[in-house]
């Protein structure tokens, strides 16, 4: 009778970190499907390619660090990072750009910091931000929705564009609504969208994509994999701020709906800002964290140089997360008030 001498508790809730990651991946699939629906094979090829690369890089580093491969790859965190990065990239990005992005995300932003749980910055967003700064041309060459451009790239064509360096045919490219809006010049918002049906159709495509990610996010909320605090605070703040400026000057500012339904906003709010490793942890901290990201997104979108701002906003707030954690600690049972900061 060999009795096990283990410390309490002796029971454990089923469910592992790997399961959490798998659910997040699953929740992102409707978004991916919508992207494929509107933009062709590109996003799917990107995603598969990026996930494969991510697993590959992770495996190499684990090998170098002499860690058991199966155990660590089984947490699916690398796969998720690859997927999230791919979802944020333009649909027909040349393969080498994607490779650089995934490399930076997995090797530099994650493993060099010590692997899962140790990285201060969201790896996918580090990869994305680095690409955006280094290769602005490639990173802003978006395809238009197929129904708008009318040009459909076959699967083979898509592969050729991505891997053979053929370049995206001009007929296929189209600026994203956010970019269009940024360069609308003297036109008012209404005039801009009234300009052409194409633009409006483009806008609708993006709204559909965001709706898909929103659905995925709601699934995560229902499964209690994320809490409402970060996405709620983020979206609410963005809504309020954009609403304020839209109310003050509707001709020059995008409506709250416009802001909430374009770009990577839902992907960012539910899948990226909620990355537990790099976000604030306490509920109060999460509220501040999410609200600050929402505010930063609006500021950068409106007055910054980049059309979208999810990556930079998230990274900036990643930087502040430990600080937020120290100052938003819950009040422990039996204590009059929460401690603030940290004394040494």
């Amino acid at each position: 009778m060999a009795l096990m001498r283990l410390s309490s508790p002796h029971v454990h809730r089923p469910g592992k970190t790997g399961d959490v990651m798998k659910q997040v991946i699953a929740a992102a699939l409707p978004g991916l499907a919508t992207l494929v629906w509107y933009f062709g094979w590109g996003p799917l090829i990107n995603a598969v390619f990026a996930v494969t690369l991510a697993l590959l890089f992770e495996a190499v580093i684990l090998k170098l660090r002499r860690r058991p491969l199966g155990f660590y790859l089984g947490d699916f965190s690398a796969a998720l990072t690859g997927l999230l990065l791919a979802l944020a990239l333009p649909p027909y990005l040349p393969w080498w750009t994607t490779t650089v992005g995934v490399f930076v995300a997995i090797v530099i932003a994650k493993q060099l910091y010590g692997g899962l749980g140790q990285n201060p910055f969201n790896p996918a967003m580090i990869g994305y931000a680095l690409l955006l700064i280094s290769f602005p041309v490639e990173m802003t060459r978006w395809a238009g929705p197929q129904e708008v451009t009318g040009a459909q790239l076959s699967f083979v064509d898509a592969l050729a564009v991505i891997f053979a360096g053929q370049g995206l045919p001009d007929a296929v490219t189209m600026a994203t609504p956010l970019e269009t809006f940024k360069h609308k010049g003297a036109l008012t918002a209404d005039e801009l969208w009234a300009q052409s049906a194409q633009l409006l159709a483009g806008l609708h495509a993006w709204q559909a994509v965001n709706l898909a990610f929103l659905l995925g996010g709601i699934y995560l909320l229902l499964r209690r994999i994320i809490t409402w605090h970060i996405p709620g605070a983020l979206l609410f703040t963005l809504f309020m701020v954009s609403g304020f400026f839209y109310g003050a000057d509707p001709s020059n500012h995008g409506s709250p709906l416009f802001h909430l339904s374009t770009g990577a906003i839902m992907l960012g709010a539910f899948f990226i800002a909620t990355d537990p490793v790099t976000a604030a942890t306490s509920n109060k901290g999460k509220l501040v964290f999410g609200a600050s990201i929402g505010l930063l997104i609006y500021i950068i979108r409106t007055w910054g140089n980049y059309p979208d701002a999810v990556a930079f906003s998230v990274l900036l707030m990643n930087l502040a997360a430990p600080f937020l954690d120290y100052y938003t600690r819950p009040r422990t049972y039996g204590h009059k008030q929460p401690q603030k900061g940290i004394k040494r």
Binding site: M1, L3, S8, V11, S282, G334
Partner: protein, 767 residues
């Protein structure tokens, strides 16, 4: 129905309570051996009242408490004490501890039991004493001696009595069974507790997964003569935690580091109260309890009434546990219980559950992954801590940060570990960190004490050295002067050139004579004690020495009268007085001892005590006189010395007091090593004597140095006026050598008076 509050977090693990509720309560057959650990409670282990070979009756006390926080232990059945050994006891570490082993004779012969019919007629402390004599310790798991919680000191006014029938841990149904079967006993116990504590509210919490128990209790409560409110609380782990239950039922939180009694609340477990009832009404000590035996390896799970001390293996056999399936044996619940290394340990007063777990029921924990800061742990922590941060700090050995994040408020409920998707054994980290912190703090305390001791020793050595040096110098000087005096005497019989030196010499001579006398006396004493033969010679020596002393003292007196009034050596006198006093106390002690033991030496001691007392008095008088006379001359010095002494005494007393307080506190907090108790008993008389000394010193000390200062001031003023007058006279008389000399002298005197005043002022300014 009163309002139910809620606490943060909590979890809903599978309850697994049904398995052990299928069969009625059964009694376990009498085991062939009972092993009774001397410590089954929090506090100091009990000390045995029996020896190997003693026959004991059922219910006979076999061990008694050794301190305030300790408990009686009784023989669970009649039989023979066959051993007093270290036996493995239920403990997470699998350690062994002293146990009484009883072999039952199967006759179950009780000692005579004495219950009380009307406990209200008893004094409260008598009632508490009865509970104490029944050896009852909290049966919910902690094992705190019950009467202490029921008979609190006057600084705790209790307004709410909470009865814990929550039993939130999965698997355990012992309290559930008890409430169903013996609701009236519990109510009886509650009435007694309420009588002792006089609370305004009596609340009983039961989880809503025990409807039958809640029904039984509600009905029984209705029949009670006091108002007992049975509150059904939602099922959530850990609602049964003392602090969580207090929050649930009253909405208030027990402040960190405090106990519920500090906010007027006492929490008692249902099992404990049933035991109290039996102890008071029937005089029955705590010798059995209800224990749940369950788990997949048990084919007949259920609740058993077991005798305290029953080996777990007996219980397992009775429940049909398949040894081949058993992989984990848990004492307590699956959340907070600990795994036992073998079944060869006894059931004790706090054993509410034994889980015989099979491999598929309790699989080995998967390897821990990295923390992904998912916050699941934080969402469930009932103490509202940040378990993930605590984990980082514990892992990184950053204990001060962990303390800052309130690690010590963690109740080790295991909710965080339960939900952690990365399977991190969080509670294990916290236990380790807490252990380390306690160890560090203990070490710090020790180091601090060692430092104080070391410094005190250094100081003492230093003092002794300077005193020795001073004595040596004095001796040398005296010798030289005596030499000179002799010469003077020889040369001329004119009045002594230096009366002071002569005085000193006389003093030394007297001292020498005294020491010699003392030595002789001692030798005589030793000889007497050991029955030496040469007593006569020694006695002669003593008397010779006595004569010498007398002579030298006479000489000394003569010298003193001839010598100008000079400051007597106050320090020396003080020393003498102190020595005399110590001698008196020592002798007193010896006398008391001797009297107690009716030794023949008592008579002698009594007489010597009398002489010593008179000597001490004389010394004290001399000292007082010297101080009186010294005051005008050198008050500053004297008061400064006295102040210093006083200070020393004060700090001594203070140190002792804090030490005592600390020790007491530690004991109250549940640390109850025999060492501490010992320390307390040692410290108490020390403190008393220190305080006495202090009081004596304070009485000796002039109440205020004010008058001295005044005297000095007036002296200064007088000296100044004199100077002025002389100056005037000189001015008027023109050049006059005599006057000038006088003036110079007066000026000097004035300066001296000034200096004395200043010194005195400084001394009084820094008390």
């Amino acid at each position: 129905m009163s309002k139910i509050w809620s606490f943060h977090g909590g979890i809903h693990p599978p309850e697994n309570k049904q398995q052990s509720l299928q069969r009625p309560l059964e009694a376990l057959p009498l085991p062939s051996r009972l092993v009774l650990p001397l410590q089954q409670h929090i506090g100091a282990p009990a000390s045995p009242l029996v020896k190997v070979g003693d026959r004991v009756l059922k219910g006979q006390p076999i061990a008694e408490p050794t301190g305030f926080v300790s408990a009686y232990l009784h023989a669970p059945t009649s039989g023979t004490v066959v051993d007093l050994v270290d036996h493995s006891v239920p403990h997470p570490s699998g350690m062994t501890a002293p146990c009484v082993v009883i072999e039952p004779d199967g006759e179950e012969r009780w000692i005579e039991l004495q219950g009380v019919d009307d406990y209200r007629s008893l004094e409260k402390h008598e009632l508490a004493e009865r509970i104490r004599h029944a050896g009852i310790a909290g049966m919910g798991g902690a094992g705190f001696p019950t009467e202490i919680k029921l008979h609190l000191s006057d600084d705790h006014i209790i307004n709410t009595l909470i009865i814990n029938g929550v039993e939130c841990e999965p698997y355990i149904t012992a309290d559930d069974m008890l409430m169903r079967e013996r609701a009236d006993e519990i109510i009886g116990g509650i009435e007694i507790a309420a009588h002792l504590l006089t609370p305004t509210h009596v609340l009983m919490g039961i989880e809503d997964n025990k409807p039958e128990a809640a029904r039984a209790m509600t009905e029984a409560a209705r029949r009670s003569r006091i108002d007992i409110e049975v509150v059904v609380v939602p099922t959530k782990y850990p609602s049964g935690g003392e602090r969580q239950l207090v929050k649930l039922l009253t909405g208030v939180e027990v402040p960190s580091g405090k106990i519920p009694a500090d906010i007027g609340i006492v929490v008692q477990n249902v099992g404990t109260l049933a035991a109290v009832y039996n102890a008071v009404h029937f005089g029955k000590p705590l010798i059995s309890r209800i224990t749940t035996i369950t788990g997949e390896a048990a084919s007949r799970p259920g609740n058993r009434e077991v005798l305290i001390g029953t080996p777990i293996s007996d219980l397992l056999a009775h429940a049909g546990v398949d040894p081949n399936r058993l992989t984990r044996l848990v004492m307590g619940g699956p959340m907070m219980g600990y795994a036992l290394g073998n079944a060869n340990v006894p059931l004790i007063k706090t054993s509410n559950c034994i889980i015989a777990g099979a491999a598929d029921e309790f699989p080995p924990a998967p390897p821990a992954q990295n923390c992904i800061r998912c916050g699941a742990c934080e969402q469930v922590c009932p103490a509202e801590l940040l378990p993930q941060q605590l984990h980082w700090f514990a892992k990184g050995r950053e204990y001060d940060k962990a303390l800052n994040f309130n690690l010590l408020d963690c109740i080790e409920c295991g909710a965080c570990s339960y939900v952690c998707p990365s399977n991190i054994p969080l509670v294990q980290y916290y236990r380790h960190a807490k252990g380390e912190i306690r160890r560090e703090q203990a070490e710090q305390r020790k180091a601090e004490q060692a430092r104080i001791r070391f410094e005190a020793r250094n100081e003492r050595l230093e003092r002794e050295k300077t005193e020795k040096e001073a004595r040596r110098k004095a001796r040398a000087e005296a010798a030289a002067k005596a030499q000179a005096a002799k010469k003077d005497d020889a040369v001329t019989s004119a009045p002594k050139a230096d009366p002071e030196a002569a005085l000193k010499a006389a003093k030394t001579a007297a001292a020498v004579a005294r020491t010699k006398l003392k030595k002789a006396e001692k030798a005589l004493q030793i000889a007497r004690d050991s029955g030496e033969s040469d007593l006569a010679a020694l006695e002669a020596e003593v008397s010779a020495q006595q004569q010498k002393v007398a002579a030298s003292e006479a000489a000394l007196k003569a010298a003193e009268s001839t010598a100008p009034a000079k400051t007597p050596d106050i320090k020396e006198l003080k020393l003498a007085a102190a020595t005399a006093r110590t001698k008196v106390t020592k002798t007193e002690k010896a006398l008391a001892d001797a009297e107690a033991k009716a030794l023949p030496s008592a008579e002698k001691l009594r007489s010597s005590l009398a002489t010593l007392r008179s000597k001490a008095d004389a010394a004290q008088h001399a000292l007082a006189a010297a101080e009186q006379s010294a005051r005008p001359a050198a008050p500053a010095e004297a008061t400064a010395a006295a102040t210093a002494d006083l200070k020393q005494l004060k700090s001594n007393a203070a140190i002792l007091r804090t030490k005592l307080k600390k020790a007491r506190k530690a004991i109250e907090a549940g640390d109850s090593s025999a060492e501490l108790a010992q320390q307390v008993t040692e410290l108490e008389p020390q403190l008393a004597s220190a305080e006495q000394a202090l009081a004596a010193a304070q009485a000796q000390q002039p109440p205020h140095t004010g008058p001295d200062l005044k005297a000095l001031k007036s002296a200064v003023a007088i000296a100044r006026t004199k100077v002025k007058k002389a100056q005037k006279a000189l001015d008027e008389a023109g050049d006059n050598d005599d006057l000038r000399a006088e003036l110079a002298q007066l000026q000097q005197q004035a300066a001296a008076a000034d200096a004395a005043l200043e010194a005195a002022q400084q001394a009084t300014e820094s008390p």
